[in-house]
Symmetry: D2
Subunit: 406 residues, 4 copies
């Protein structure tokens, strides 16, 4: 049913996985590890060995629910286990560097959620650790999952095949609205020391990575504005949703009010190494837009447009068509010949958010089995981190054009 490589499923070696963190990202990663082997012909058999978390009761319950054999409150234990070959880091950004570097040094492959770190310095250390580990055959990957939404993987293929010609414009937005209400509590994602930045690093990082992935080019410089619309919020936890956990104890004042120390929104202009102009916007204040990651590329031979709120569709304008029959076509990316989708359901039976993570797991298992460097690499993650830093630097300096380091 799929054109993906075939492996004998009997006598495959196991791939022991240990995961750190078990909230939103931990849930979706667990689902990927539980599901991937039923749909793809993998060269290794993933096994969900141990999940690590800070609270013993919560991590034990999570293990039972999410399908992990064991749990622990000490992520370092995972590094000592011979039956664990891969560390999957789903904890918050402030601990990525410490865990990833330790894991790589311990000879464990690493999958690390994005953004790679909270600062370029951390990300550089991680990239160095990944380079050193690669010498020893130990692999590292950063979890920009949207690259593996089939419509976006297809988009990259069309660009790489030259169907867009020279790319002139990139137009990327990631719009959410979950903190429009000023009474929404000060969850950890709104505190700089825990989250690094706000909308910029949380969702802006995704569209920066996508812009580079889809074009195959780098962002060379930016001009930016960031804004915090609501500065004070009540302390507490959100009942549900993204980043429901409360901020840490240092963030509040005695009156139950805390200070937002990250951006609510970031907008920026950029140029790519391929000569395109790009506009970016990341915000949590776009009322009615829930998870509207959208990106459009305009090239000399055609254009592509995508919106995650209709994630199975890719819109493609082929400028080589006669004008009389040209137009953006809605490709429903569910055909056997499309990336990944042949492994799932018949045409027209769409996939959901979590499938991108299952595809990520599939590709990582293949990479580990074949000793190939997985994409996106820690270097890719570092480059995104440098763009984030350049955005903040430009915003702090009257939007002045700021080259991206490296």
């Amino acid at each position: 049913m799929s054109s993906l490589p075939q492996h004998s499923r009997t006598a495959r070696p196991p791939l022991g996985v240990g995961m750190v963190g078990h909230s939103f990202m931990g849930r979706v990663h667990s689902h990927a590890w539980r599901s991937v082997d039923a749909f793809f012909d993998l060269p290794m058999r993933p096994e969900l060995r141990v999940v690590a978390g800070r609270d013993a009761a919560r991590v034990e319950a999570a293990a039972a629910r999410l399908g992990w054999a064991e749990s622990t409150t000490d992520w370092r234990e995972l590094l000592d286990r011979d039956d664990i070959a891969l560390i999957d880091i789903c904890a918050q950004g402030s601990v990525h560097a410490e865990i990833a570097i330790a894991a790589l040094e311990a000879g464990k492959h690493v999958l690390c959620e994005k953004p790679l770190a909270n600062t370029p310095a951390e990300a550089e250390a991680m990239a160095r650790a990944a380079a050193a580990a690669a010498e020893r055959g130990v692999l590292a990957m950063v979890g920009f999952n949207y690259r593996r939404v089939p419509a976006l993987t297809l988009a990259r293929t069309l660009v790489a095949d030259g169907r867009l010609g020279t790319i002139r414009h990139v137009r990327a937005r990631y719009l959410q609205d979950w903190i429009v209400d000023p009474e929404h509590p000060l969850v950890w994602r709104l505190v700089r020391e825990e989250a690094g930045s706000g909308a910029l690093g949380d969702i802006g990082a995704h569209i920066i990575d996508l812009a580079e992935f889809l074009t195959g080019d780098h962002i060379t410089g930016v001009s930016a504005v960031t804004e915090t619309f609501v500065h004070k919020r009540p302390l507490g936890t959100a009942g549900s949703g993204i980043g429901a956990q409360a901020a840490g104890p240092t963030s509040g004042s005695a009156d139950g009010i805390g200070t937002v120390t990250v951006d609510d929104a970031a907008i920026f202009l950029a140029r790519t190494s391929g000569g395109a102009l790009a506009t970016f916007e990341a915000t949590r204040f776009a009322t009615g837009r829930k998870n509207a990651l959208s990106i459009e590329l305009n090239g000399s031979r055609g254009s592509l447009s995508f919106d995650f709120e209709a994630m199975n569709d890719l819109w493609f304008h082929d400028h080589d068509e006669p004008a009389a029959t040209a137009g953006f076509r809605r490709i429903t990316v569910t055909e056997p010949t499309h990336p990944y989708t042949g492994a799932w359901w018949p045409p027209g039976h769409g996939l959901g958010y979590e499938h991108s993570f299952t595809h990520q797991a599939r590709d990582l298992v293949e990479a580990i089995a074949t000793g190939t460097t997985p994409q996106p690499s820690f270097d890719d993650g570092l480059r995104v981190q440098r763009v984030l830093a350049a955005v903040e630097a430009s915003a702090a300096d009257s939007s002045r054009w700021t080259p991206v380091d490296g």
Copy 2:
């Protein structure tokens, strides 16, 4: 994260499941049974005990891949197992009646894929068996999974709440295009004795059930036309896709060509017990439409529109709004307050095809645990079967208006 009932997850009884069939439907049901317990707070813990299939090697491989503990080539073995409480029938329609009736008589709960059977007579026998079983606390459910696409569950809620007023029109279509090419082989779904009917029973059944589910009314009569556009096809199997298996040995002639004995398309008019006019269309010849199950309801107070090719969206026109601001609104059905979706991801992170089956599994486990009759029942499946029969009768009698029996 969810408003669904909470259960203590420790000390829950297991619910042993045995499944018959392991192709398309078997794959998606297996995924549902594997996944449901991680996302929903279930009163029982589903266990994937045994899968049955006709070919020993294939069913054994399927068990390994799909997560079943054991496999067998004799579905009757499942009825003898004390550790199996639920039989999940994913085999083709021609064996539904035999398996379901035997299972119910053996005291097993039954989940049976749609259409319930290949004839009304079979369906009636199944409904009688279900009624008898219910007396003994044994439950039966038919697998019209689309009822549990969150957007359609929400649609039913809006209708039941009166938001549409008196329903005047139902407009239902299920469009596919997988046999447009006359060289597509004569797979089993194109042979009457195996599949019962063609597009009518395979996909038309879904929109009949949805029309009744959404309106809360019954279809009282029909006027129909059916057509077979391509009468002869090569024997063989399709490489992939829907109904890839070849037709049985009696279907072909010596020259490698076989006869299509089912409809390629069915169109029909209907009236509902609520006074609405309805139009239905089921076809496998709608080029470019892959799995376009669409349904629209127009009522005196509002309208609803849905297309499975954008399955996370429900379009709602509220006619009580002032005309200046009225219009079909696109509800992205991924909010915590929407049916089922709170158990999954944050708003805007869409679900896919298989989630409807996971929701079905969740509701069935709840029903078994609480001894409640699950919906849709075998009576619901029987009613659909009678509509299918009326469609064929009308088509065979110059489209004459044909009341639906019962």
Copy 3:
């Protein structure tokens, strides 16, 4: 700017027009006659000579507002005028036959609004008169204006060019909602003796014609259901909108309540001479759908889809495309190479409802100047009338399959 034929604009002969009726259709026809010469290179110069109406004051005011040189209360006067070569009939259906036949016999070219007549007998007489007139070089055209919405003209071209292959399905709907409220008054369009039929003839006629125009085939038989949802309505006029005029004096009872004597909705199945199955729906009870004339064709090589509520777009699926890049493309029909649009604005600057009438006027002037039979002809209008009659006959006879006469 246009690929349309060029004429010397100086020394062109005039084409004197006389119009009967000046309400909704009269307004839009007048606009067409006033505008067409500024945008198209016409071989004759249309002149708005006389408008005829029943009420002297109203027709005089209409003449002033709509740009007619003179007005009269006697349409027969138009037939005596040497300076009038074309009679444009915008009066209601019940008088079409009388006026059109008299005009043709008087040697005047005729443009007659649709539906051609209120009965097949009238339409037959009109078609006979048109045939006789044609012998004398006098031309007749029926005003199915939607044929000249550029997107639909383009659709016809694509079908005629074979881009759809063999057509399997036609799916046509015309949905409005202006009488959903049971307090909407009994305007003339709801009375059989004035309007002939209800939604069927008023809007159903358009989609019947379009189905034949686009496919190039004829409708050979139908099976139908019609319904009147609201039987009693208050007498009076509607403040605005479609058919605002009150019904005639014989329609009401002493209590200010009148009886609806036409259908509110009609649904029907059909077959075409090309072997396609077709579904039709015409209703004034589709809440939220304002003027939703939509039609889709599915053929062996491709599909087309159109919705008048986005009238500048034609959706085309080219099934010859590789599956990986196939999909319905949105053609914005505003290119210089598209039908008619080169005469208007640059690409992307959309047209509106009235432009279809301006295009109709343009083509009729060309036909008159060159002595070519204009399309759609009275024969085309007669054929639609026969389909309407077959629909009513089938609905009155248990939806039995009813061949279309002729």
Copy 4:
């Protein structure tokens, strides 16, 4: 049929109009002047007196085609005519200031196409002339026609009514693709001394004006990048389309190649006086986007979204709705209660590009008759000019944040 003010149509005074320029803008303005009186109840009767152009033969032909009584090659003649009260300036931007100032000083009302001028200095002189003329009851209006697309007029009403709450984001783009081909000739719109700027002033001006109009706020500063992708182009005229005329004689070199001296694209960030962040993009290199003027506003209580390629629709998200039924609704802006549309056709019968000009003409006639200052004023046009200048200044100074003067 309309809620607009009613005037007695008899005994109305005439309003003599003289127009300068007769290409694209002249054609659409002429259509507006010819049509407006048939659809709206105007207090004065517009009369198309004289059109002025540079070439005698061409302007004479244009007068005949477009409906003007006379033509001239000297626009100054229009200022001497007592029967002309309004000068409509459709010539290119480089002559706006001279004509407008002379006309205002001659006591003629002025409608001037946008952008108001090619430089802020010219625009300031024009605004001063308008202020002086206003003292004498002589009025001036700048032609930002998109304000009068009904969907955008409705959008302004919803914002003014507070339905969006505090506006946080503006997202405005104007995308075209007519010079993607590097062989497209060097038409006048690509030469700075004739056009002032490129995409920025031609189409960027529209979205700057719309952002201010819709929010009711001013743009206070910008950070910008501009780019010219194709620097050399062949001399010559385009066969059709936007700006078909060749550039003037000084632009080319002996080899038939000329230099593009304006921007092909401009992207910029902005802040509004209301505290919103805004992103803007104007380009002629967005393949497949023909006239994609789109704008979205996100506020604390709701959002609005519009795309001119579907110009009859306004999308409105009401954040006060319960989340379960909230979503962007597609308002088809064709109801009698919508701005302007009651004067045209029944609901669902859409309007086209030129209607915005007809509405502009209607409102200007009302303003002249009542002595009210029309909107947008020359001050509005000046403010746009200052934003354009700030964009160019920022782009020339490393994208540094540049306050908008005034």
